[in-house]
């Protein structure tokens, strides 16, 4: 999958407008921005004084080149390598512009060579006489003026297109800050267009305000990385919208901690409009017939309910009512205890219920009392039940002796189940599993 991440297109266009040292107001702001960005990347212990020469050098170069730190050696090397770069970076707009500005000699040289080859006969005129041995480029030891030195453009070594974010991470402030936060850039770059979006983001304008908003909300810093990995589009959502949604949730009497928990568990929550959230909350309150507080509790524990579509939830409710035959209050109890039943897979839910009700002969009331079994793995329930049946200990009626409750059947780990419930060894259980 080819991902074309167009690197730093935005940053470069700003700088190309004014390559000269004599800076107007616009470049002063951009220059200061460049300076700030560079400053941000330097370790905190650096002394603030930077000499004027370095500042001007940083001003003249695009962001990437500025980070390849300036020394005198680089100036001279840049001049030499310019011509070599000219053939390589032919498709980069910036390099051509600079070449037409500074390397006026080179096109003429080529033209002259062409002319010389065509017109062999008139070789008299001195204008057309070319000395091919003469150095086309100035010697590296030649002194150049400050203005020329400042105008030297070192083309960035970053590839203009890449299928991974690896070449850009060290150079881009946004990306390195995101990695330090714990965002899984590798996972994000698999998604189409997300990589380009992240590279184009500006840390101070786009990313930082949203991170501060999330932090104010109460989301832990360790969870921020996971949140952004699941939902990078929270960074492109406008700040006003995010604030409006948070205030809406708070107006519905969700406490601050519950809003923070909901956002951590369902990263896409704040990308949904206020109307949609309102619609969902209203549906749950009406359909389930729960009080406002219980609805809030259910939604806080499973905020995914507010994100997904309502059709599968309506189907699951219908299945519970008609196919399984649960009464209204039983369904309410099940949903408040195990909200996951609402978004569970219908087929798997039916399989589990069928086995528990028909094969294990457990009545509705008992299943409603232990709704966690509907959330368990079918194979686990089946193997354990058949083992107990083989041993003659499959007793699920509370009134009878040796009663085994459904939650103990399903949720104990294997060793504890074998020793306490089945009163057998783990090897026996494994040997029995191989006879099924």
């Amino acid at each position: 999958m080819q991902l074309f991440i167009h690197a730093l297109g935005g940053a470069e266009t700003v700088h190309s407008a004014s390559p000269t040292k004599k800076t107007g107001n616009s470049t002063r702001t951009t220059g200061s921005r460049v300076y700030e960005e560079v400053y941000m990347l330097l370790p905190k212990t650096v002394v603030m004084h930077v000499c004027q020469r370095c500042v001007s050098l940083l001003l003249s170069r695009p962001l990437s080149a500025a980070l390849q730190q300036s020394t005198l050696a680089l100036h001279q090397r840049a001049h030499l390598t310019l011509l070599q770069h000219s053939t390589r970076h032919t498709h980069s707009r910036q390099t051509w512009r600079h070449f037409t500005d500074h390397q006026a000699a080179s096109p003429d040289v080529y033209n002259k060579i062409d002319l010389a080859q065509k017109e062999v006969v008139p070789f008299n005129s001195d204008v057309h006489r070319i000395d091919l041995d003469a150095a086309v480029h100035p010697s590296p030891l030649q002194e150049i003026s400050e203005e020329e030195a400042v105008q030297i453009h070192v083309p960035s070594a970053l590839p203009p297109e890449s299928s991974t974010l690896r070449p850009y991470v060290d150079e881009s402030e946004t990306l390195s800050k995101l990695v330090q936060l714990g965002v899984n850039l590798w996972k994000l770059e698999q998604r189409p267009n997300v990589g380009s979006m992240l590279v184009r983001l500006d840390f101070h304008a786009d990313v930082a305000p949203k991170l501060l908003l999330l932090k104010d909300l109460g989301v832990e810093e360790t969870k921020l990385g996971q949140l952004l990995t699941k939902n990078p589009f929270i960074l492109t959502e406008s700040l006003d919208n995010l604030e409006a949604r948070v205030s809406y949730l708070k107006s519905k009497k969700f406490s601050k901690q519950s809003v923070a928990a909901m956002v951590s568990k369902a990263p896409y929550l704040l990308n949904f409009s206020v109307e949609r959230l309102d619609n969902r909350l209203g549906f749950f309150q009406k359909q389930l017939g729960l009080s406002a507080e219980k609805t809030r509790d259910v939604v806080t524990r499973l905020p995914k309910l507010l994100c997904g579509s309502l059709e599968p939830i309506k189907e699951n409710l219908k299945v519970c009512e008609l196919e399984f035959g649960f009464r209204g209050n039983e369904i309410q109890h099940i949903v408040t205890t195990v909200p996951k039943v609402l978004i569970a897979n219908k087929r798997k839910l039916t399989q589990i219920f069928d086995f528990i009700h028909n094969t294990m002969d457990v009545p509705h009331s008992l299943i409603a009392k232990f709704p966690q079994v509907l959330n368990a793995k079918f194979l686990r329930i089946r193997e354990r039940h058949l083992f107990l049946e083989y041993l003659g200990r499959a007793q699920y009626q509370p009134s009878q002796p040796n009663y085994i409750s459904l939650d103990r059947l399903v949720f104990l780990p294997d060793e504890v189940f074998c020793s306490e419930v089945a009163l057998a060894t783990l090897e026996d259980f494994e040997r029995f599993q191989k006879t099924l």
Partner: protein, 358 residues
Amino acid sequence: MTTQAVRLFRKMNGLFAVYKPQGVHWKHVRDSTESNLLKALNSCPPPAPQLALQFQLLSGGENCSSKDVVLSPSMVPTLADHPLVTGPQFHKVHVGVGHRLDAFSSGVLVLGVGKGNGVLEHLCKSHVTRDYTLEGEFGKATDNFTHTGRVIEKTTYDHVTLDKLERVLAMIQGANQKALITYSQVDLHTQEAYELAVRGLLYPHGKSPPILTGLRCIHFNPPNFTLEVQCVNETQKYLRKLIHEVGLELRTSAVCSGVRRTRDGPFKVENALTRQHWTADSIMQAIAHFSKTTRKIRKSGMYRQTAGPLNSSTQVQEQTRSQTEQINLEHVELSSSTSDTVVDRETPVTLSEGRTKQ
């Protein structure tokens, strides 16, 4: 310089057996084992990040004035080698499946990792038999021969006795023996053919329909009964159809309520891994356990390949048969109890190998 992950990956080569539960697609088993192996590989510490030269603006020493800054170089680890940027070290482990089991059946499923996949091919081409336990139920017939299918007819089964069942099984066995002899392309009127048949080394050459080399009833409790089958070239649907045909021969109908593979060549049920043990360290232990068997299969496979163009010569056939005999003996040795060489009272040629599972 190899990292711990690379060293672990290089050890992941070989065959092992897994017990597939009923109702699970074999692909799910293969995917689970692959993801568990990858989890173990990627949990190893990543290689050290590359260091890059970075010039940092630091304040000058005492000889410089306070306003001057000096660019000093230092080696700093690049973020480009951070695991969150590069991703996991391993993306794929080649895990292959031997003879497949459909979702309704359960039992031994042979999987191969890395270099073991080549040996899997040899195993599939070799003439090892497979051992099944079939649970049947008299009284109804369904559209897909299983007890969960749509019922087509219901019949009585009071007239069925163990005697009648065994007679029917003997008839089926006879037909299968004939087919075995036909497809094994030996001339039955020779002494060598007789000796091969006695030792149980007849096997079909080339393409053949499913052939049962052994069949008997191990449990009879009407309406339920259990058959034990050794077969070659079979599919699980064929075995369910077999149950249906047994019912038809007995003038009743039968459905299959379980197909369980207890042996696949030299891989038996005792050493198959249950679901809790589908983790990397158990798999490595199982691979080590089966390494000897794997080597034997590879050798016989390579021998068969080199002797390919000379297929017609009986000498070569003898030698490939002896290799197969070695593999068959291998699985007899692997069993903890003494080997069963029960000779069926009807036909002298039948040999039932391996242990039976009640």
